[in-house]
Symmetry: C2
């Protein structure tokens, strides 16, 4: 398929297996879309779906997801550890192939408009699709959650991007946006001292002065007796994996602590790994066109 978009809808249902299966079936019902992953967390009472397909197919699948979720989920009785404001809480669109960020922003707007029209759920656009800077950050939009929104939505600065100032009685409000692919990258450090992981996390993350597209926390891995810098890389092109790893290594060395291993959690774009290979192998004028499989694919695509 020439044009591919990923979407990662987060839905406020993580316990009822029949309901989760019905939501998954709605996403699978579009022939040009594939559901790659379903992660349900009963404690969070939340399920994260990962799907890919052509832009129109993914838009259609997401609208069907709202159609299944709205009658099944009642936020008035929803209790879970994860903050939430809607039955379909948040829907990002991510460019994968042959699609620009501008295309994903347009897709977010199109789906947002349709969600209000069909389901009467107020829509907030976020991240790259945000209509104003203070709406880029999803956490800012969600602050107050479902319970606080009847009051929040009346404030002038929190008028929804699509829809009226009326929270849907059971489905709340929803955030729809566009963002870069997110890489979950953890670096394990050869010490049991949690303070080292916390100090390194603080040094590398954007919020406290580190790299722009890095979120990081320090954690203990108790069974292994070591600690971990657990990170989300929110723009792997602008803040690439090697720069992150080597900065973590440098900061940990400050305490005489080595990097003993790393973890890539979930999926990673091949481009991010090719870039890492070219970086460390010091390849001059690297082009992904040297990859055999890519050349073969192109040759057969040309017919």
């Amino acid at each position: 398929m020439e044009r591919l978009v990923e979407s990662v809808p987060n839905v406020s249902e993580g316990r009822d297996r029949a309901a989760i299966e019905a939501l998954a079936a709605a996403l699978r019902a579009v022939p040009t879309v594939r559901l790659l992953d379903v992660q349900s967390d009963p404690d969070h009472h939340r399920t994260v779906f990962t799907l890919v397909g052509d832009p129109d197919g993914v838009a259609e699948a997401i609208l069907r997801l709202y159609g299944e979720a709205v009658p099944r989920i009642d936020l008035r009785v929803h209790r879970g550890e994860h903050p939430r404001m809607g039955a379909v809480d948040v829907v990002p669109f991510v460019p994968v192939r042959g699609v620009t960020m501008a295309d994903c922003v347009a897709l977010a707007r199109r789906v947002g408009e349709e969600v209000w029209e069909r389901f009467r759920i107020p829509v907030y656009l976020y991240e790259e699709a945000a209509s104003r800077p203070e709406r880029r950050d999803l956490a800012e939009i969600r602050r107050g959650e479902f319970e606080g929104f009847p009051e929040k939505i009346l404030r002038p600065e929190w008028a929804p991007d699509f829809g009226e100032r009326a929270v849907h009685p059971t489905a709340g409000v929803t955030a729809i946006g566009a963002r870069e692919f997110l890489i979950a990258f953890n670096v394990n450090l050869g010490t049991s001292d949690l303070r080292v992981a916390k100090a390194v996390a603080q040094a590398v993350r954007f919020s406290s002065g580190g790299l722009r597209y890095v979120k990081a926390i320090g954690l203990e891995l108790k069974e292994r007796g070591i600690v971990q810098v657990s990170m989300n890389l929110t723009n792997f092109r602008k803040t690439p994996l090697p720069r992150v790893l080597e900065l973590v290594r440098l900061e940990a060395a400050r305490y005489g602590v080595p990097v003993v291993g790393t973890e890539l959690v979930g999926l990673v774009p091949g481009e991010a790994l090719l870039h890492a290979a070219a970086h460390y192998l010091q390849v001059e004028d690297f082009s992904p066109g040297v990859v055999l499989e890519r050349r073969i694919e192109e040759a057969f695509a040309q017919g």
Copy 2:
């Protein structure tokens, strides 16, 4: 396509453009095969074709190549810098996807038998397809070249694997084999002293005590005022890129010389670059299954 084989036939014609185009057309004529690259060298009077396709398709394309080459090329009048013994000098089959080395050995034997039957050219099997150890090395088989073969073929140890002890009058003999994918990897060193490149090449190459699947020479890059260790990696799974680069770096550091850059010449299997990324990123339990594009491809292939 599920099963993919690469072949890199070397043909003793590097000057007549019409002849080279006719040879390329023969390879392109099989619908399930793609010709990825054609490199002609007039000084060598030799052309190297790179094609991929399903095993049966590639076998058919190679037989068509012999069919076009035999009437066009007369080794009695062929003069070039590169050693050669046949009109189609050497044909390796390389496993790419869904195909084992044993499959490629079987393919070499099948094509070899057919080449003798159809064209009456004696066939030597080489590398992984070799019938005895001293025939693994193509240079050993080719020693004496076209001019020496009428005498060499009569020696008991040089009876062909397929065919009679009679060199084809114009097309000579031919070598058909199976081998791993070959990566051409050059490392540029920050010095103008050719002795350093030669010493490093000697240290890292198999023939003088280095890594098993490395061939290396030292060269000058005169325009840039630096030197280069120019290598062929003949088994990137067993002697991977990072081990080669880091050994070159270590040996060069012995002279206080840094690695200033590298070059990947031609095509490189994605697997070799993914392995390099996982190596340098220190990923624990790396699996190519984490690559987004691969997961997408699998999801759509499953339908």
